[in-house]
Symmetry: C2
Amino acid sequence: MMVSEKSVEKSFASLHAPFIMNAAEADVIRALRKKGVISRTGISSITGWSKAKTSQEIRSLIGKGYLVEEGEGTSQGGRRPGLLRINDQLGYLVGLDIGATSIDAVLADVGGKVLQRITSPADVRQSPEEFLSHCSELILEMVTAQACRHDQILGIGVGVPGPVDFSRGVLVAPPLMPGWENFPIRSFFQQTFPTSYVVIDNDVNIMAIGEQRAGDGIGVDHFIFIKIGTGIGSGIVSNGKIHRGSIGCAGDIGHICVDKQGPICRCGNTGCLEAMAAGPAVTEKALQAAKNGSSPLLRKMMEDNGGFLGPEDVNTACREGDQAALEIIRASGQMIGDVLASLVNFFNPSHIFIGGGITNFGNHLLVSIRRAVLRRSLPLATTDLSINFSRMGPEAGVTGAVALAREYLFIVEGQPTFKV
Amino acid sequence: MMVSEKSVEKSFASLHAPFIMNAAEADVIRALRKKGVISRTGISSITGWSKAKTSQEIRSLIGKGYLVEEGEGTSQGGRRPGLLRINDQLGYLVGLDIGATSIDAVLADVGGKVLQRITSPADVRQSPEEFLSHCSELILEMVTAQACRHDQILGIGVGVPGPVDFSRGVLVAPPLMPGWENFPIRSFFQQTFPTSYVVIDNDVNIMAIGEQRAGDGIGVDHFIFIKIGTGIGSGIVSNGKIHRGSIGCAGDIGHICVDKQGPICRCGNTGCLEAMAAGPAVTEKALQAAKNGSSPLLRKMMEDNGGFLGPEDVNTACREGDQAALEIIRASGQMIGDVLASLVNFFNPSHIFIGGGITNFGNHLLVSIRRAVLRRSLPLATTDLSINFSRMGPEAGVTGAVALAREYLFIVEGQPTFKV
DNA sequence: TAACTTTGTTCACAATACGAACGAAGTTAT
DNA sequence: ATAACTTCGTTCGTATTGTGAACAAAGTTA
């Protein structure tokens, strides 16, 4: 009686994160993470543990509900292997990508498979409480839609547009959202989702993580992810790990100076990359071209738009062969490329991924960036360098947020912050 | 008989690197590395192993000759602890810092204590065989002077002025020493010193390692070490580890563009930092000032020198209050600072250490660098940033080379490249 | 149908690591 | 000065951990 009651309690409790395990079990989980579906013998040969021990640990993990059997594989000339996988029904993960004007949220299973995605307009100038309550509602909306319980949310990964003290999980002097400084995002979410582990990171860092876990950055040790949109930022991966810097503001390349005689930036300095080459600068130049007559097409688009032009208008004009628009995009690409050239010399990455709203500017932008980098970097640093748009599109952020949360799903005895 | 013979053989063989040990023994060694001299109980509490097990492993390590007893410590209110330390007589390490015109070599014991240091002029344009033979002779000279055997050299750390493929231990497309490309430095040294493990790294990287292990960089996770001399280079530490980049040329900031209208650099581009702010540029500007009459003092020094001026002359002139010399140094500092400002935004280090020949230019240079960085970097990135000269002087390189070699002294069963 | 192969479990055994007890060496309180 | 406590390190019995060998299960191939 006693024993059976205890075991029932335990199997229920085990549905709540974090999942505690020993080192050998962690090896098994790691092997499963890598391979997805694999046999006991396969796990044994990956982990190095004997077949006997491996089998035993797997029995334990199945007992706890972490693993499930997934039918049988094909015979390799003998008995068919019994396949195993991590129990995706163990619970759910949430990824949040907080932008200045919108929230991107996904609900995924513990395997990282996205079940639902929501995008919602929002204003980051709201108070953190209001804004995050909105986020919680979005999560609960998905929870309801997917018919799961809110206490099955095991991890929440959050990307925010500002510098983050990663270990404390708070924003540090964020220019876009001053009221958020030191706001305890982690405990806010844990009030509503007490079963979940909450990780906060910079928005570009989570995009880089997304690229590293689910994009073309898999297996790449040194790369830079550039986000070009309203601002310009970057996520840095060094030796396979995110480089966040001393106080978490690494990658903030938007305010690198490209021209001391340039226009004044919102940061107060002159000639910042962001002020000269990001979205607003591009549309500003386009408006000038429309007004001063150098581009009749842009002028027409402006008039049709009621006096406004967006980045996508410049792109359209460029596609239709408008020289002024092309020149604006080229100039932007060259300035970005000049900055990247310095960073390539300094950091020697093997890949640069470019993402963010400006991505659909297409090849003209990419070509000018590449050309500038090739011209100004050391030949050695560029021989093995690829510069490309991220193929993950707008999903890089939330994908990375989920991947980040997923890292902290399991906890190993003795090791305070173990990542599987 | 058999047994005793065997054990003699074993204890002799154990004098040759690498020293193989199990995981628990490695924990003991690691604790000893950290504390230097420590009791058995102390090791037990650091490693987490029980007193019984710790004692046993220590007995084994003493038996192998890796550890020695170091008298007794002071009582903490009970029996006096028996102190232990790593056996410094185990063998010796060599650090080599190869410069364009000189070799800096040290012989150290396995504790890292420098026993002897030699500096010798050399020309890197020699063939690798000639040059490295010269290095070997220097090492043997020290070996003789210190009355140790050449087969007691257990590790050689080498810093070379060029990009290094660290895992293969060869230079990759080095501009200063084209004939060295892919030359097997490692096996060259192992012919003469078959008992030693040879590690090759970039010259600025080993300076950064020196700063990290024995200088003000101890415990600093993110820093940049800048070397300013004939050229300008940097060593990068991210998350406590050297960042070498995709092909090993990370940190090569000398060819970052500071002025597109600037003079032509030896790399072929225009306006590189190196061409505008490094040693040769400084002396060139000083010569101009001497010739065009804007500095009578420099003119006099030039004439006394037979038409030449060195960086130290500019420094002297500056100290004596010469305005032209001061302006030259300030301009150099500002350009370096402007580049560093970009790197600070990108990398967010907590420390920048400046070393190399130009270091003794003193405060004028440092102040202008700091001022430029503070003006052009994000305030957030500079709040916690310290920019200082390295206090290790010309010994940073060799110290780092020894530290690097020392990491590979012990090898743990199963783990291919374990660092203690 | 017999002879291999591969998978996974069982079980006895070896090794590993620990706790408790103890001896050794010192310090502090009375 | 002596008793009582502390700390250090070793010894030893024991519990735990992990393994290899044997075996059972399930299939494939000659």
